[in-house]
Amino acid sequence: MTEALLSVRDLVHEFRTNTGVVHAVSGVSFDVRPGETLGIVGETGSGKSTLARSVLQAPRPTSGEVTFRGTDLTTLRGARLLAARRHLQMVFQDPFGSLDPKWAVRDLVEEPLIAYKTGSKNERRERVDEVLELVGLDPASHGRRRPRELSGGQAQRVAIARAIALNPALIICDEAVSSLDVLIQAQVLNLFERLRAELGLSYLFIAHDLALVKQVSDRVAVMYLGRLCEAGPGDSVYTEPLHPYTRALLDSVPSTDNPTKRAPATISGEPPSPVDPPSGCRFRTRCPRAQEVCAAEQPPMRELAAGHTVACHFPLASQSAARTTARSDKKIGETP
């Protein structure tokens, strides 16, 4: 199997606040392979946005390794980190928040090229035209506009154009389409897919919407209170979830396919504070299957079906899991 493009190991990110230490990310490991989209699903406070920034080293994680194209970013400083990050870009939720309102679209897209001293003025101009066309904007008419003269969908396209201008290998999308209306969201999702095929991009696609993540992802990881609880191929995670939390999430999604289905509130209560997370399994305080051992021991990630891992002492029965007799303690995405 091919080498991972991005390999994250035991990533920990903690913040000191007045009320104590926030355990935002507590030992997360995963791989993103070239050309692959890894989706990360999590609710508010799961630490998914902190995870995204941590990978970019902005700010730096408390501990752990972030190996991107063979180099551990956590060991790099200054110009060398900047150079490594050139191939690792990010698209945020609010396009207007990430675009300087005083700049014209052309200048916004050219900025990363200037920052990385790429090409001559003419070459940069050509590149700006090229990427604007790639994201479906007209360089002539949209290029001169300011962000406020754009719709939300157009502004997000500009943010994507900025991200792809430097020919990155991996784009981290943090709720990148969550604020868009349905019809525009579909256009931008299709754009992400097209760019992936045309430019051979990989994505780390982070969102709270399960259906959205499924749409674009090859593999999906589910995050709860700073830890991954399950990861695997999208199809198996969604159709045969192994973790009770994933099951609860899936049951909570209202659907147009089955209008009579009333989402049963399968779990009660709300996530505990990341300042004082529960011992053992962090989901145990809301889990219908929790036993004593769940408070005593943190369940290790283990592979129960092909490429499908779960961190649970009492995983849900699954057909493919039942077939797998050998249980091994594997990290997500680790190749056998």
């Binding site: 209306d181 349905v182 579909a186 999604v253 989402a263 709300e270």
Partner: protein
Amino acid sequence: MTEPLLQVEDLRVAFPDRGRELHAVDGVSYCVYAGQTLAVVGESGSGKTVSSRAVMGLLPPAAVITGSARFQGIQLIGLTDDQLRAHRGADVAMVFQDPSRSLNPTMRIGSQIAEAVRAHQRVAKSQAGQRAVELLRLVRMPLPERRCTEYPHQLSGGMRQRVMIAIALACRPKLLIADEATTALDVTTQAQIMELLLELQAELGMALMLISHDLGLAASYADEVIVMYAGRIVEQAPATRLFSQVRMPYTQALLEAIPRLERPAHSPLPVVGGRPPDLSALPAGCSFAPRCRHAAADCRASEPPLAEHEPGHRWACWHPVGRGGSRGMGRPGQEGSAA
């Protein structure tokens, strides 16, 4: 048929905007019945929020409102703010998207609920405080006595929304309007709040109006669904019918564009080009025609009326989809148009 609780007829709302008129709501008629859950769905700018705020008298003074909105026979449009205050809260209450902006950050939860109680009922302070605890218990808030002594920032988003619902229920309204009330919440919390709203609706016999951009939410929780586009109602049907026998191409486009759990990964989403029309210069004919793949000359010439074409199913379209023998809507993805 029983009398409607709220009957809205030909409601129009226009905002002056730099010498032009923005037609945010353009001739909307619907009824809400006691005990019913009605969902109004649409994208940003469809007029779903403006139409409900017009009924409640919650629009800025510059808004020009015409038409009729009768609550139990009483005309609400044209009433002064003072006259409306008698209906707000007691007859119709609203819950909004962002509870942290609706709550006073410097006031304890209990006092805020008690204030809402005393705004409409002559009760002693201590009694209102007692009522606050009861209301928090009604919205299934754990440890209601303790929560009363806390401030909004000490509560999670889901708990703050429960407080907003408690305040909305303080005067036992006959109609509760939830305007994107669960949009900012996580799915698991959303499921809890929606279950709560339906339970309370059954307990109190309220009508519930869900205003949302989320068709899945409407499908799962509403009895009746209204779809709005560019200030007009374009389709209305019982939830079970609308999603299996969609007629209006706009509703169909919305349904197809939503990523859904049942759809295989990486399948291209059928998309509609263009953007909603400028509300100050609506096109002649159907507002969706410029983006519609079924549009013909008649669609651009005259506006299709919203009429009941099949029992209980209204739509405004000259060329409805899915009629004539074939079952339901076309399979999503088959008629995918270019991005």
